[in-house]
């Protein structure tokens, strides 16, 4: 059961999950689940364009996602439409464009199914190296913008009043997200990336008391989901991507069960130092 291909899948999956957890926390906090969808929907367009230009597909996907980020920020600043409406328009617009491009160009090497569910078994040593390289860059960027991004999530007004340039940090975050989708697309597939972005943070919320704890918890739960999902896939001969998502769902469901602890904090009733 533990052969080289299994270890490769494990290494690739862990690399994606460890980055997706902390990144996904902001999608949960800012109620931007659609943002992950937009990035992954635009991946098809990037993939097709990369095929046309004969460049590395990851670069094409990143370029389209990185282009969508400032477009979204500009449209948001213009006002008039809610963020989720804009995201849905961009997401489905990009998906339609991608499907059109694929149909018109009829590229022989494009395989939409692999794009959707991913192919973890196909991860080469070079792919894995790329995942960890890009992943490290994304985490570094996230650490860099963590404070302003978090402050503007709590209160944009406050972040601005204290000179924390929230727009700049949002742009950095969006570019990091484009990078994450590009690196994860081949491995878990674009449609499953959103699950790895959303489910582990939601599962970690229950156990976290600070934003940082939740980010680390999400990385941990994502990694556990990859391990359990891959083992289950190998044992029962299941597709690895969906198995990972189901494992994450099980962790999320487990967090919904009541604990005997209850809420330890009851402000006002506890006596204050004597």
């Amino acid at each position: 059961m533990v052969d080289e291909s299994f270890l490769r899948m494990l290494a690739a999956g862990l690399g994606v999950a460890l980055v997706a957890g902390p990144m996904g926390c902001f999608l949960v906090w800012r109620r931007m689940a659609y943002f992950g969808a937009m990035m992954s929907h635009s991946a098809l367009l990037g993939w097709t364009l990369a095929g046309l230009l004969r460049i590395e597909p990851m670069l094409g996907v990143f370029a389209v996602g990185a282009g969508a980020a400032p477009l979204l920020l500009a449209l948001e600043r213009r006002g008039g439409l809610a963020s989720d409406t804009l995201l849905a328009i961009l997401a489905h617009g990009a998906l339609a464009l991608g499907l059109l491009a694929t149909a018109i160009l009829a590229l022989p090497e494009s395989n939409p199914h692999a794009l959707i569910v991913g192919d973890m078994g196909a991860a080469s040593a070079a792919d894995i190296a790329a995942i960890y390289l890009v992943g490290a860059a994304i985490i570094a960027a996230l650490v860099l913008v963590w404070r302003p991004l978090l402050a503007s999530t709590v209160s944009d007004e406050l972040a601005r009043a204290e000179g924390l340039a929230p727009d700049k940090s949002r742009l950095v975050y969006m570019l990091a997200m484009a990078g994450l989708v590009a690196m994860a697309m081949k491995i878990v597939g674009v449609l499953l990336i959103v699950s790895l972005l959303m489910i582990p943070p939601a599962a970690a919320r229950r156990f976290a008391r600070t934003p940082e704890e939740m980010a680390l918890g999400a990385a941990g739960i994502g990694a556990l989901s990859v391990i359990c999902g891959l083992i289950a896939a190998r044992m029962w001969d299941l597709p690895s991507g969906p198995a990972i998502v189901i494992a994450a769902l099980v962790f999320f469901a487990a967090g919904l069960l009541p604990t005997p602890m209850g809420r330890p904090w009851n402000l006002g009733r506890a006596p204050k130092n004597g």
């Binding site: 978090l150 000179g163 340039a165």
Partner: protein, 329 residues
Amino acid sequence: MIDTPINADAPSAKAPSARAPSGSDKPLRAPAHPTKEAPATTREPLVRLSRVGVFGGGRSILEAVDLAIEPGEIVSIVGPNGAGKTTLARVVLGLIKPDEGEVVRRAGLAIGYVPQRFVIDPMLPLTVRRLLTLTRPSPQKAVERALGRVGLDAAAEVPVSALSGGELQRALIARALLAEPALLVLDEPVQGVDLAGQIALYRLIAELRESLGTAVLLISHDLHVVMAETDRVLCLAGHVCCAGTPESVCDNPEFARLFGADVAGALAVYSHRHDHTHEPDGRIVAKPASATESGDESKEERTGKAREEGARTTEDHIVARKEERGRHG
């Protein structure tokens, strides 16, 4: 040379707040002793707005507003919705650059900002400590001292979601105090706080002014209650409709014209009755008779020894105010 004019030349590409509200990681603060750049005599205003005008959306939001905030004074801005109160606060904070007029801040002025009530997404776990260190790191001792000042001594590790409206406002005030501000700007601090909690918050603000010497700019859409410690009330309706002591504003015919004689007549200046104290969540607690008689109530409140639930929970001013509310909706 003395002052830092922030006007048309303020850098707008960067955060316009780079100057006044402490920028980046080094908190600006008002010099404890006068420096060469700011040989600030005590009569030097912290912020001076001269003929400030702001336009937006094809209309005038603020027009020819004059306002000077002196060290240690409490200024209340009252006015109906859409009067430009929040815009005025944003001009004072340096968040927006006025289209007309001039804003002059004392060099190195640190402003503590308590924004309008906001909702924290329940998916975002945040302890009170983490809320206080949201925009800049702070040593643990400073956090605890700031919490102690607002009566939330034991609350550092409590999740923000467990706080009542009044407690959240106290935590946000503590957060603003960490910058050691010479001026506190509070935008609708009592919004969504029950009456007893409102009075406790007003009392806290007055105490902070007394113990820290902080000037306070208080914004309120509530015309009915203006805190008694307010030195000056500025009644805003796009322009300064009237200004002065709370009593003089109440009697001002312009004020009555703008808000209607019945509403203006209902403006109650809240005065303390020191026969009780308040829990941080606003619950009223009776004081021991001796404390009431000694008149040393503020100290008594801070030590928080009087904790038994008081039998007396009605207060003349609350009752009076409720009646007014009932009459005017």
